[in-house]
Symmetry: C2
Subunit: 261 residues, 2 copies
């Protein structure tokens, strides 16, 4: 896999200037964002700006990240959060022995990079699962706009709050002891979030491998596979290739919530 991070391109990789927020011309893979046709524009930062301000900010430089490439890497200096304009990402941490553990999936419309706020360094690798576009929002600009416009502040609080709520839910999910419960809860979480960004909550493509899901849920890939089989045999889901249909959502919820202790 090619390793290249997009927020911190090496000099030879860039045609345009480095600093997000100062760009006048676009480098390779970077284009001025056209919010007008962005499906997520209603929920994104510009919607929180007064109409008169929306054209004044040139820092929304859309950036294309190709499948398998990194948006940033654990340890990189934190400079910006990013909204996912299209595609999706996974975050992962790498153990001392080189093994990778997925820590989250980030769908279109969601915001990346908040894990860097606390320390000023990102804490995980961010990998594009398909060719994806992100719109980086430099943190310094965000702070200024936040102070200036209450609606931007509110937007940012919502973003961080949602992140916390999602993470908290994931922590509760991972307290489940049986593989089926964890998988069911994981699928329901994905379903809810797919719905939130305009996709069907009942049917979607799994953007990651069984191995990744397993590393996320504390299972090996074979167990993940068998858990899928069991849920399917129980009539709760239907699986064909990458595509998963949640047939009996109520049943899944019962599975996911069953016997926490």
């Amino acid at each position: 896999m090619t390793i290249r991070t997009a927020l911190t391109l090496d000099a030879e990789d860039r045609a345009g200037p480095t600093g997000v927020g100062t760009a006048a011309e676009s480098g390779p893979e970077r284009n001025p964002a056209t919010c007008a046709d962005c499906p997520g524009r209603e929920a994104c930062l510009p919607a929180a700006l007064p109409y008169s301000e929306r054209g004044n900010h040139t820092f929304f430089l859309r950036q294309r990240i190709r499948r398998g490439h990194l948006l940033y890497r654990a340890g990189d200096a934190f400079s910006a959060i990013c909204t996912v304009r299209s595609g999706c990402f996974k975050s992962q941490v790498t153990g001392d022995d080189g093994s990778e553990r997925m820590t989250g999936i980030h769908l279109c419309g969601e915001v990346l990079g908040t894990d860097g706020i606390a320390t000023g360094k990102y804490t995980s690798d961010l990998v594009a699962l398909e060719d994806s576009d992100v719109c980086p929002i430099p943190f310094c600009a965000l702070k200024q706009l936040s102070a200036e416009f209450p609606s931007v502040q509110q937007w940012f609080h919502k973003v961080l709050g949602r992140q916390i709520a999602t993470n908290t839910g994931m922590i509760a999910l991972l307290g489940a002891r049986r593989a089926d419960e964890r998988l069911a809860a994981f699928l329901l979480d994905l379903s809810r979030r797919f719905a939130a960004c305009g996709f069907s909550p009942r049917e979607f493509d799994l953007p990651v491998t069984h191995r990744d899901i397993g590393s996320h849920l504390g299972l090996c890939s074979e167990t993940t596979s068998r858990a899928f089989c069991r849920l399917q045999r129980g009539g709760l889901i239907r699986v064909r290739k990458q595509r998963v249909a949640l047939v009996d959502i109520a049943g899944l919820k019962k599975s996911a919530g069953g016997k926490p202790c």
Copy 2:
């Protein structure tokens, strides 16, 4: 166990007014905070206020929560975040069948209630593990101060960022498959956070039962107990009653990071 939430006291439980932020007189269990002798004052919100402003805000009403009582409950309307002035808390969610799953521990100096920001409702129960004091910070006041003082904004971003980082770390931790790894990682996380609030990172009292730890880590209480034994037998920790000493922190880290997949 007595169930009573503190942020939303019922009318007959209160002597003073409800709304945090408007209080002039203190009700039972509520006293004006005296930040001067608070061990966490350097890291708390008032330190981010200009000196001239620090006396102007009367909304820092310290509140005492007795052991076993609830600060708030899942579903309660979100009104404030709280810093833990003394003591500690656990957060937990309750399944449909009434079983409880711990979702986190919150130490002195940390901030509670951020799980309510996204939706306007708290998503978990917050239980005091010992007699504890909290200082509620009404969210509306925080928004105003944030907009007015960049240093307050920065403080709040740090608070939320730390919460996200802690949660992300916990999610990575829970991806471990063996009981010993999860427990080792859990203890190291606690150690780091005890250190952050001025306690020893090498020795501390576990504020929760094995059952709670198990529900958090996806283990049953017996397995938790045996994992403690194994870590002790391996010379990594020493346990006596509630007190845990981390003897070999490097070894614990190796245990915790070992074989993620």
